[in-house]
Assembly symmetry: C2
Homo-oligomer: 272 residues x 2
């Protein structure tokens, strides 16, 4: 069994939504957590340059920038605007030194799922040259199928893998988030298939029953996900990068950042 | 395009939870809805024999009995009890003249998904001789992956098809419920693969965003599911049996049964 140490732990800011950007950086540094998964709206609190400066001077690194994507839209003009916004996200990742932008596909503008999925392929394809020039990689993150109507028409790792294979660029890979994929009978086969193109791994837990559609994730160990098995599968597929703790949960958001981070460190080691 | 008429419509009683059994039968007869998807706890209201008698005398037929399943459990004794209860469900289906018992797999007793899935295979396999002798078929219904933790470790049609293929009995097939499978990139391929073993087809809709984890289904046409495309795919796979309207939704439950049935008839024809 591979052992895990804290050097791979990253705090994704979705876990500590109410912790201001600057305090989050200081808090991670104090806690010995060397990575931070940055959200665009959090970096905007103090500005991108200041965020980048503080991350560097605290000795931290950005594991990813969240998030790009949201490609499907009703008109060509809207789809063009979404692609422009994704180019800005790539620029921001550059400035932060984040190697990866996490791509959430977005929902369809109507009932045509195939059409929306094609728009995702077109959108990511359009970004590839821009990302490759800047040395930023795009991680397609399949979301849980319960988000197919409101957040992402990409809902399985098989689908994300197929999309990445079709785009066939070293700048494009996948992000594996346990919350989104744990239920999938194909998940271990698809993690193995993703070998070499896993660009991120996110942990949280699935609480039974889920307390909320969006803010229902649990702290690692509080739910039913086979966390260690999934982490070892991702390791076995060759991924040795940072592992982001990403917990969307109102009760976690209402807890002081330092406390959340202390518990996350403990559970990261005992459960993942 | 295949046209649909009301002769295929069935009212699954999950749609009208607060409508008493006897009134539901009379209401369906008055509305010209010839099929009813019976739930065990509803039949228990007036007793099985009386339910069967009233269904026959109203000129209706039971399209299915809901539900069997819930096989995984922590101990062998509990698993045996679950199988016994499923045998009783098969007996009840016989008495009602329902050709099919809908099988919901159940959640696992712990984090071991593979283990729980094996218990589902073992449980259904144990029932096959009993069901076959009585001429009742078992429809494995994959539930939406958001129910993997609390209701069903069988979460995709691919998985249900594989399970049915592994059991390899004419007494075992699958039920396709649009709410559970609409998001799946493989759904059309898997519907085609299920040709000859589709034992039921259920309609409702996926509201954006979902109002509730369990009671969040919408009336056909109120959500984003490509209903007609799915219905035509199921037709093309050779299924020509009853189509159950099955809507778990508190607001629908709070509406008088006659009104729900009237709207369901309208939407069945305009949307499915």
């Amino acid at each position: 069994m591979t052992t895990l140490d804290l050097s791979r732990m990253s705090l994704n800011q979705a876990t500590t939504q109410n912790w201001p950007m600057a305090e989050t950086i200081d808090g991670c540094a104090r806690a010995g957590v060397g990575w931070i998964g940055v959200w665009r709206h959090k970096a905007a609190e103090i500005g991108l340059a200041e965020t980048a400066r503080r991350i560097r001077s605290a000795g931290l690194r950005a594991s990813s920038l969240c998030r790009g994507g949201f490609f499907p839209a009703a008109t060509a003009e809207e789809r063009r605007q979404r692609i422009d916004d994704n180019r800005r996200a790539i620029d921001e990742a550059c400035e932060l030194g984040a190697p990866v932008v996490v791509m959430v596909a977005g929902p369809g503008p109507d009932r045509d799922l195939d059409g929306a999925r094609q728009m995702v392929f077109d959108g990511i394809s359009a970004l590839v040259p821009y990302a490759a020039e800047r040395g930023v990689r795009l991680a397609i993150e399949p979301l849980h199928p319960m988000f197919a109507g409101d957040r992402s028409v990409v809902v399985t790792l098989a689908q994300a893998n197929a999309l990445a294979a079709r785009i066939a660029s070293p700048a494009v890979g996948v992000a594996v988030d346990v919350y989104h994929v744990w239920w999938d009978p194909q998940v271990y086969a698809e993690i193995a298939r993703a070998s070499g193109s896993i660009l991120g791994f996110h942990v949280s837990d699935w609480i039974v029953p889920p307390p909320d559609h969006v803010l229902g994730r649990g702290m690692m160990g509080d739910g039913v996900i086979e966390l260690r098995r999934l982490r070892e599968a991702v390791d076995a597929a060759g991924y040795d990068g940072p592992i982001e703790v990403e917990i969307f949960n109102q009760a976690v958001w209402d807890t002081p950042g330092e406390q959340v981070l202390a518990l996350a460190k403990e559970r990261f080691l005992s459960e993942c």
